[in-house]
């Protein structure tokens, strides 16, 4: 019968105690290194077909190439179908929405974009309305301020030469009162 005092048991226990911290350390270290290695690997992206809504979200920001004033998302011509197909292809390749728009702008020019880009010659189309609005607002503000700051100017009224202002005013006032039957 084994007891804890048995030498073999003691030896076994000693071995267990002595192995535990180091025996765990090595596997833990290996696990950590493996995790770090796997984390450093590039994550493979799976190609997925974009949804109808995703394609239309991009197409709605573009013009039909062959129509006038028609949004690419609403256009039903063969050309528009082809362009939407190209949008879908680019999205499936991992292009972001902005990258798709940049691609079409570089490929076909700014005319294909619903909104003119805020750079290059079309920048003025964005800046000018803001400038005009600010200029108009400043002008309005100045006008209104001027109205509020209007200073009274003292003026004297005289109907007959040689008569003082007070004398004429009193006579005029008396006449008014008579006419109004106040006296």
């Amino acid at each position: 019968m084994y007891t804890s005092n048995d030498s073999n048991t003691k030896n076994l226990t000693k071995r267990s105690i002595s192995l535990t911290p180091y025996s765990l350390l090595l596997p833990l270290l290996a696990l950590l290194l493996a995790t770090l290695f796997l984390a450093s690997l590039p994550t493979p992206t799976l190609a997925q077909d974009p949804s109808y809504d995703e394609v239309n979200d991009v197409a709605s920001q573009m013009n039909c190439p062959t129509c006038v004033g028609v949004n690419l998302a609403d256009c039903r011509t063969q050309t528009c179908e082809q362009w939407r197909g190209q949008i879908a292809d680019l999205l499936a390749e991992g292009y972001t929405e902005q990258e798709v728009l940049d691609y079409f702008e570089a490929r076909y020019g700014t005319r294909v974009l619903l909104e003119p880009p805020a750079h290059g010659p079309t920048l003025i189309l964005w800046v000018l309305p803001v400038v005009a609005l600010l200029a108009g607002g400043i002008w309005l503000g100045l006008i209104m301020r001027r109205w509020n700051q209007a200073k009274p100017v003292t003026a004297s009224v005289s109907t007959e030469p040689g008569l003082s202002a007070s004398h004429v005013s009193d006579e005029y006032l008396e006449q008014v009162e008579q006419d109004l039957d106040l006296k």
């Binding site: 011509t77 050309t79 000018l128 400038v131 005009a132 006008i143 009274p152 004297s156």
Partner: protein, 190 residues
């Protein structure tokens, strides 16, 4: 008795109206400057052909072609698109003519307008187009030539001037007549 009559100083609203008017005028001028190069294609006849560099589709040996390097040859620039129904009518004629006039220093260039590459290549395969063709990147070439649609064909003489602008599909007789005349003309600038 003195009366107080509120009075305003002589209005300086005119000054602000001038400022706003100048801002609006500057804006109008800016818009005109942006559009000042928009000359229609028919008005290009007789003018020097705007130079351009066009990338070519993959099946061609060269990566790109530059118009100015073709000076001394007759150049036919055809704007087309796979979705252009009228273009179908002249596609085979243009290819046949290119084959016939190649050795007479005549170069055909196909400029693909507002088209997707997949459909453009299918169009070229369908009609057997072998003359140098490529996409009009950024629509810069079509803008500089002021095209109003497709097909449009520009005939450039040996001196680099636009001798004729053809709106719509071209007929064989007219095409051959034009080319014969341009080929016969000696280059004046050389």
């Amino acid at each position: 008795m003195e009366q107080a009559i509120p009075q305003r100083k002589p209005s300086s609203n005119k000054k602000y109206l001038w400022i706003i008017g100048i801002v609006v005028l500057l804006g109008w001028v800016a818009v005109m400057v942006v559009n000042m190069n928009s000359v229609e294609s028919t008005a290009m006849q007789g003018r020097a052909a705007p130079d351009f560099t066009m990338p070519l589709f993959d099946q061609f040996n060269e990566d790109e072609v530059q118009l100015s390097e073709l000076r001394g040859q007759v150049v036919v620039i055809n704007f087309w698109a796979s979705w252009c129904v009228e273009c179908y009518k002249e596609a085979e004629l243009l290819e046949q003519t290119w084959q016939a006039y190649q050795d007479q220093d005549v170069v055909f260039l196909g400029v693909d307008y507002l088209d997707t590459d997949k459909e453009a290549l299918a169009y070229m395969a369908k009609y057997g187009i072998t003359y140098p063709s490529g996409p009009d990147m950024g629509s810069r070439i079509s803008n500089s030539y002021g095209i109003t649609g497709v097909p449009e064909t520009f005939f450039i003489d040996k001196d680099g001037n636009i001798a004729h602008v053809q709106i719509g599909p071209i007929e064989q007789q007219q095409l051959y007549s034009l080319l014969n005349k341009l080929v016969a003309q000696p280059a004046q600038g050389m």
